[in-house]
């Protein structure tokens, strides 16, 4: 019973009114939760600002990201350039703002691909079981054995260098992690009484998976996905640092660090802004993930 309560709680107001016999669904009060969990509040506020900055970059950024001012190379922070300029005289703040778009795009793409491959695969092998599960699980183990970034570098090299390919590669490394979680959850849920009842009523396999198993098994994946956004962000920064990700002259935080590192003896202050941007964003995703974990886990007592 706890399982059904949990889903009605998280499904917000979308639950249909047809289940007259059940107690009214407990509405999940998002704002109350957010107000009660200050870390989640701060993380979400930061991420919202970042998303807005990424979307409205052309409006917010004081300069065009590739506009060079050759009279003002590696300038320290000033009134005209709040965070200084890089080795080509480009405004660091503007590049940081434009870089946020690539960072968020990269993180969502990698995690999206991981989900698109991993979740259906995990549900499928967990639901069908038998030799398909055996084979599927061994495949998952085999891909999981790779150091993720080594696999990502190798796959990027194969697919061709560039941000989108690099993030496909990272998503490929994420997929087995999600598949494993999803499989384990499916195994737990598929033997639950309500699934058995639905089977008794003659529900089709597809109906069982979509209506009963997926909604009840997805919760740990939601937490994992949020935490993975941080990992993907760090991977994008790393791959762009190695010039396997975002290609110049497009701006990315990792690429900015690579350039700043070249001139670290001349303009050491150039390496702080992109680094902190990566750190804070990763921290926000992680903190949000932990808050969601606490929210969804009935065994952890909340105040």
């Amino acid at each position: 019973m706890t399982d059904t309560n949990m889903t009605t709680m998280t499904r917000t107001a979308a639950a249909p009114a047809a289940r007259a016999t059940l107690p009214p669904p407990v509405r999940f009060r998002f704002w109350a939760w957010l107000w009660g969990d200050k870390r989640a509040l701060i993380s979400l506020a930061y991420l919202s600002i970042l998303i807005l900055a990424a979307v409205f970059a052309p409006v917010i950024a004081p300069y065009a990201p590739n506009k060079q001012n050759l009279m003002d190379l590696l300038a320290p922070p000033s009134g005209a350039h709040w965070l200084g300029t890089d080795d080509l005289g480009r405004d660091t703040l503007s590049r940081l703002i434009y870089g946020s778009y690539n960072a968020l795009y990269a993180a969502s793409l990698a995690v999206g691909i991981g989900v698109a491959i991993g979740v259906p695969l995990g549900v499928f092998i967990g639901f069908v079981g038998g030799w398909i599960d055996q084979v599927g699980s061994r495949i998952i183990d085999g891909v999981l054995a790779f150091p993720p970034l080594v696999l990502a570098v190798a796959v990027t090299g194969a697919l061709g260098i560039g941000l989108t390919n690099a993030m496909i590669a990272v998503g490929f490394a994420f997929a087995p992690v999600l598949a494993r979680t999803m499989r384990a959850q499916t195994l737990v849920v598929k033997n639950a009484l309500y699934v058995e009842a639905a089977t008794g009523f003659g529900a089709s396999r597809l109906h069982l998976i979509l209506r009963h198993i997926l909604p009840n098994a997805i919760q740990p994946v939601i937490v994992e996905v949020t935490l993975m956004l941080a990992v993907a962000l760090l991977a994008e920064a790393g791959l762009s640092f190695l010039s396997l990700g975002v290609q110049p002259p497009e701006s990315s935080w990792g690429g900015m660090l690579a350039r700043a590192y070249h001139y670290v003896e001349v303009a050491p202050e150039q390496m702080y802004a992109p680094g902190f941007a990566i750190l804070f964003t990763a921290l926000a995703f992680n903190t949000l993930g932990e808050s969601i974990r606490v929210l969804l886990d009935p065994t952890i007592k909340r105040k």
């Binding site: 085999g142 970034l149 080594v150 190798a154 090299g157 697919l159 190695l242 660090l257």
Partner: protein, 319 residues
């Protein structure tokens, strides 16, 4: 049927066979992920038709895929990982010359991670809810989120360019000058170890809290055992397996981060080799490094399992 540790090792080795098959197949099929004709991709833009035909033959693209896989695997098992497309050097020799640098770095980071992470975790668990606990947990959150290569850059700026305590870049062979090689590896190892410190501190804290909250610890406490004795004799002994397992899992992450850290510190390890080769489409080298590293990780996991079984008879018995 064998029992105890040998039985467990035999069982694990059996389980490794399918994992190895999948891992090697992934490495093999990297060539097939290339868009278009892989032979033409490998040969490059200015290759002659003969060169393309030659590469097609070297890789065996004219044969069925499964045949090619077994052909490739057969060669790999004999240590023939092909030749670099640029220098024509043996891939295996290229890797073996660079692997010690990476392994030293990863081991060094692992040791640092354990030396700092485990005590921090114990400290946080035994002082749960205090300011110290909160400080440690916060540092751990930062440690997971900080990009290790950025930390590397900051360390270089502070301690190499600023104080000149450590060399900024480069590495020394561990076989020729062991002490100097450790000195050279110190800054990169510190940068690498932050995530290990953070993860270990967190995991040790939560594992220890769980053990300390269990029934038998409550019984021991009721019997009047001092909290020190409870922690050292019963608490830590029961989280040792968790620590070892978590530390083993970090090896995988460390090889990942090493790819970038080696670029920051210009360390001629396999991480640098694979990213450089990926940029230059030197495919046999990319495949070779991926293969060797996945084998290293698989064997590390096996080692962790064996160690766990040796120290904890319950693990061996359950196998």
């Amino acid at each position: 049927m064998m029992y105890g540790v040998p039985g467990m090792v035999a069982q694990r080795l059996m389980q490794l066979v399918p994992v190895m098959i999948v891992a090697t197949f992934v490495v093999f099929s990297l060539v097939y992920m290339m868009p278009g004709d892989p032979a033409m991709m490998i040969a490059g833009d200015y290759a002659t038709a003969e060169r393309i035909a030659e590469i097609r033959h070297i890789y065996g693209f004219d044969r069925p895929m499964l045949m090619q896989y077994f052909f490739w695997l057969g060669n790999a098992v004999q240590g023939d990982l092909g030749h670099s497309l640029f220098s024509n050097e043996s891939v295996l020799r290229l890797i073996l010359a660079r692997l010690p640098h990476t392994v030293l770095l990863v081991l060094y980071a692992l040791v640092l991670g354990a030396v700092f992470g485990i005590p921090l975790g114990i400290l946080a668990a035994t002082r749960q809810g205090t300011t110290l606990d909160k400080v440690i947990t916060s540092i751990a959150s930062l440690g997971v989120a900080v990009p290790s290569f950025w930390l590397g850059i900051i360390l270089v700026t502070l301690f190499s360019l600023g104080y000149r305590w450590f060399p900024a870049t480069g590495a020394v062979s561990v076989f020729e000058k062991p002490l100097e090689s450790i000195y050279y590896a110190t800054l990169p190892a510190i940068a690498l170890s932050t995530s290990v410190v953070a993860v270990l501190a967190r995991q040790v804290r939560s594992a220890l809290l769980e053990v300390l909250g269990s029934q038998y610890i409550r019984t021991l406490r009721a019997k009047g055992l001092s909290s020190g004795a409870i922690l050292w004799k019963h608490g830590l002994r029961n989280v040792a397996a968790t620590m070892l397992t978590i530390a083993g899992l970090q090896v995988n992450r460390l090889f990942s981060s090493a790819v970038i850290i080696e670029a920051v510190f210009a360390i001629p390890g396999v991480g640098n080799l694979i990213s450089y080769s990926a940029l230059n489409k030197d495919f046999p080298v990319v495949q070779g490094v991926a293969l060797v590293l996945v084998l290293v990780v698989i064997l590390t996991n096996l080692l962790v399992d064996v160690l766990n079984a040796t120290f904890d008879p319950r693990v061996a018995a359950s196998a």
